[in-house]
Every structure is written in C-alpha cells, then in structure tokens.
Amino acid sequence: MVEMVSRPYERAFEKHALANPDVLCISADLTSSCEIDKFRDNYPDQFLSMGMAEQNMMSFCGGLGLAGYRPFVHTFGVFTYRRPYDQLMASIAYPRRKVRIMGFLPGITTPGGMTHQAIEDISVMRSMPNMTILETGDATEVESICEAADSIDGPVYCRVLRGSMPRLFDTPIVVGQMRELSLGSDVLIVTAGITTEEALRATKALETSGVSVRHLHLNTIKPFNAGAILDHINSVKGGVITLENHVTEGGIGSLVAEIMADNGVGKKLKRLGLNDTYAHGGSRAYLMRYYGLDALALTQGVEGLLGQKLDITEQDLAEARVDAVHSLAKAEGL
C-alpha cells in the first residue's frame, strides 16, 4: 500500500526558507492554493504579496534577484509563463536571476480547465535559454524541491504537486540524476511527474504479461545529460515509450526524440501525452483516462510499440487511485 502524504510542500518550504534568510516567499493571490498561507501568517517579514499582477511580479523578482535575494514565486504554473512571458525572459531568464518559480497544478492536475492547465510549460521553458526545469513526481520529490531548486545558479521552473500525494521514492531529488525504477530489456518507459505512478502500475501488469520493462523517472528535464538515457535506449530490444502530463510537442517525448535523432538511434519511439489538444475541467483520474495519460493508455501504447496484444485490462491495473475533484485539502479544487 502506497503511503499518502498531505501537503508536503508546506513543510518543505517553511524548513528551507527559515534556514535561508535570503529566500523570499512571493505570492500572486494563490497563497493557500500554493500551501504557503501558514508561512504568510507566521513569517510576514519573509513574505511578499504581489497580487494578481504577474507581469510586475516577474520584473519585481528580477529586481530582488539583482539585490541578491532568492525569491520563490508561488502561483499556478500557467500564470508564470503565459501572461508574463516577456517579463520572465527579460527580467529573469536573460540575466540569470536566482528566481525559483514554483508552478503548481502542472498539466491536467486541476479541474480548472484550459486557463489553469499548464500543458505546454515544459515546451516553453525548454526553449528559454538559461532556464532550468525540475518536475516533482511524489511526496519525497516535493519535500526536496526547494533545496534542489535553490541549488541552481540561475532561474528555475518547477512543476510542483500539492495536496495529498503518494510517496514513491525514499531519496531526495538529485539535480541531473534520473531515477532507474526498473531495468528490463524489452521496452523503455520514460515518465515524469504524475505519470510515473501510472507507469509503476502498468509495469507490474506488463511484467506479468511477460514484457520486460525498463522504466526511467525524470525529475530534471533541463539541462539533460543525453548519455545516460542513450545507454538505457540501447539496452532494450523493442523501443521507447514516453508518457507525460503535457502536450507531446516539446515535452519529455520531444526530449527523448531529439536525443534519439541527434544520435542516430534507429529504434521505435511512441510518445503519449496530450496530442495537440487543450483539455477541459474534470477530476485527474477522469482527465487522465479521457486524454490517454494513465496506466491503461500506457499498456496499450506498449502493445502498439511491440506489435502484440497483451490483453491487459483495467482490472489488471490494480491499486488504481482516484482523486475527487473536491479534495479535503482544498475545497474549491483551485
């Protein structure tokens, strides 16, 4: 049974910020939604409300960074790059300010629909020079995200999970180091964020059906060391499949595709994710099923990749976890 952890970011940020006086807590009117409301109440001297004004917030943080502060920006991921893209580029990314952008609700992890779903953030941030990208996939990674982000000499964008989440790993994020979750020889599965839990469920069923799975979990998406993943690609017979909480263009599927193309790897690659589409509002489980981001989609993808029917059913994918739209942690779901 997977351990479920409630609001790990809240504790992680407080611990990190108190140990680092130059860390500032920046909020854009989503303070409790980003689990920093207790921090606001308890440590007002280290907290700055920026209101719903993301363009000013980004340039303001550039100014804080110029003075040597390390602001942690807290808002939904989508609000950190869509509206204030130019400010993010000119005031933070270009001059390599140590601004730590904590983007909550990555991909379809919100019932908020298109306006709240950061489905192309990795693609945007990957193309931004000087930007580092980290992504959290479980409670342990959320617990270590502040320290990991703050170790970067430059700006960082983090896809952060919130509320209740499973603990899948027992070691913190080591920037630049992917997690090797299984080392089989038939197919390589590459996941990040919430799709890793899906892949763990799929892996069990696939192994039962006789497919030897090699599974990698990425928490550092940029910069990326191609060498390590090439070794894994070369270790499987049947090809590579990626599953991401993001559009397939520009995300980890593209990342793997680029590495394969750059290195002349002639293996099959199947990229699963949002396929040139926006999503709509709904529970995470519903959206993951509807858009083909869950364990079943992955096993079906592997079938296609290997060209064989495995007849894995939903019942085979045991321990499915279903989140309610209205969680106890946040009544509005936003």
């Binding site: 000013n56 340039s59 303001f60 100014g63």
Partner: protein, 308 residues
C-alpha cells in the same frame, strides 16, 4: 563626481552629440535628445549619487550574453559607478533613448567620446537599443513597462537591507499604455516602496506618431495618483522645476515626476517631421543639408562636415 560643467552645458552637449551623430549617420534619435537632454543632464550632473565609473572609458566589445559558461559577461552598470549600498542606481526604461544616454555619459565624463563611434556597429556593446551590456545600462528594458517593476523590486530589497542608495527610473510616457506600469505603481504604494523615484519624459510621442492618435491615455497624473504615486508635473526644460520636484516628500509612496517636454526643443526644424519623430532618417540629401544648417544654427554650433 565633481561637476566640471554646468547642467545647461551638459544638456547642450547631449544635443550637440546626438545632432552630430544623426547628421553623420543620416538619421538618429534626434527628437529624444530634444525632449530628454535636460532631464538626463540633471540626473547625472546633479541629482544622482553615483560613484566613479568602474568600466573602461572606451567600451569593451560585446563579450557574450549571460550564460553559465560565459565568465566574460558584464553589464553596462559600471558606467554609473559601483553597486554599493550608499550609491543610487538608474534604470533607463525606454532603451531606445540609448543614444541620448550614451551622449550623457560622455558629457559627464563617464565614457570616452569614441564610445559613440561604436554605436550600432556589429560586435559593439554600444547597442542601438540599449542592452544590459551597453554603457549605462544594468537591466534589460527594451520592452516598455519593465523598468519601474524591476526598480521596485530592487528598491524593496535595498530598503530591507537598510541601504541608503535610491533607485531612479527614467521613463517615457508611452509606457503608461502598458498595464505593467500600473501594476508597478500599485505595488510600490501597497508595499510602501518610497526609495523609488522616476522621471517620465512626457513628450506625447510614440513610434507610430502622436500618442493621442495612437492610444489616448488621458490624465496621467490623476491616474498615477489614484494608483498610489506622488506625482509632480514640471517643465522638462526647466532645471529648477526638476530640482524642486525631486525634493517632494513622498513617504510610503513612489515619486514620479512628469516632465512635460517639447519633442523639438532646441531643434525647431524637426517640427516639419511631426508626428513622425520616433527615429528621424533624412528623406533626401536636400533635407539632410537643410537640417544640418538649421539645427547647427539653433544650437549655436558649426554645421557638420559630413561630405567625407
């Protein structure tokens, strides 16, 4: 730095250098020199508390953009002196005023005159639109509206650290069309950031022409006051006006000086080009020759010999 020239002389020198540059290069930001010369001259020659320049008088060539693997990267802030707690910082928000800003650095002894010859040349750091690495620049402001926000962040940080140095912003009135400007003012007021001071060149011009034909912005003063700034209106060509305005108390609020300027002040012939004043490129040799004689006469200097 010790003022060797009067501020009036610095302002004339700025216009003279920009005029020379524009005639020689068949175009330039002439109108910006007309409207801004006294403002920048007054800032650098009187109001700003800056240390001695820390960068070479002749600017370095472009040494690359900020990158983890580029140890040579530098900003142009050193021309405004060292970043020390007691000294002021200046952000020039409309980066296309760079030519005027560079001329100011030369007139106040912070950059060699040769620096202007590097303007907009390939491989030079003296860029046409001032970049971070350009003399006198510290942050990117090429897109309008960014400057005041960045200044607010720096100012908040300096206040928290107990630093005496203020953060000045040189702004242009077109920036009030950008929503970020209003975000920045309300942010300063909310957080009582009162070590920010801005002077805005209200010349009522923008790239497409006269502001009231492109996007009417209404009463800037009232709007800014409603968003939480202390605002003083001055004649941009009257130094005493600016001196007095800068003394205005603004506890807990940013101070913004609206400097109403004439975009052809000291070069009346430019009025012929109204409302296309953003970048004056001469339409013919005849116009170039005529403007050369007229502007030289208005400034009280010799016409430029640009034949060779």
């Amino acid at each position: 730095m010790k003022n060797e020239k009067s501020t009036e002389d610095v302002a004339l020198g700025i216009r003279r250098r920009v005029f020379e540059h524009a005639i020689r290069n068949n175009g330039g930001y002439l109108s910006q020199a007309c409207s801004a010369a006294e403002q920048l001259a007054w800032l650098y020659n009187e109001e700003l508390n800056l240390g001695e320049p820390t960068l070479p008088m002749i600017p370095k060539l472009f040494e690359g953009v900020p990158h983890a693997d580029n140890p040579n990267y530098h900003t142009g802030a050193g021309y405004n002196g060292p970043f020390l707690p007691e000294f002021d910082r200046l952000f020039i928000a409309p980066a296309h005023y760079a030519l005027v800003a560079y001329a100011t650095l030369i007139e106040t002894g912070r950059m060699a005159a040769e620096g202007l010859e590097m303007f907009n040349k390939d491989g030079s750091s003296v860029e046409m639109i001032g970049a971070e690495h350009s003399p006198g620049m510290e942050v990117h402001n090429g897109t309008l509206g960014i400057g005041l926000s960045t200044a607010a962040g720096l100012a908040w940080a300096r206040k928290k650290r107990g630093e005496k140095g203020r953060v000045w912003v040189y702004m242009s009135d077109g920036e009030v069309q950008e929503g970020q400007t209003w975000e920045a003012i309300q942010c300063c007021a909310h957080h009582r950031i009162d070590n920010v001071k801005a002077i805005m060149d209200v010349n009522k011009q923008q790239c497409d022409g006269a502001m009231d034909s492109v996007m009417e912005v209404g009463d800037i003063k009232t709007k800014m006051e409603n968003f939480g700034a202390i605002v003083v209106e001055v004649d941009a060509h009257n130094l005493n006006d600016m001196r007095e305005a800068a003394k205005t108390k603004h506890d807990g609020k940013p101070l913004i000086i609206l400097a109403h300027s004439n975009p052809f002040h000291s070069m009346p012939i430019l009025e012929e080009r109204f409302p296309r004043l953003h970048y004056v490129r001469f339409k013919s040799e005849e116009e170039r020759a005529r403007m050369n004689l007229s502007i030289a006469d208005a400034l009280g200097v010799d016409p430029i010999d640009y034949a060779h």
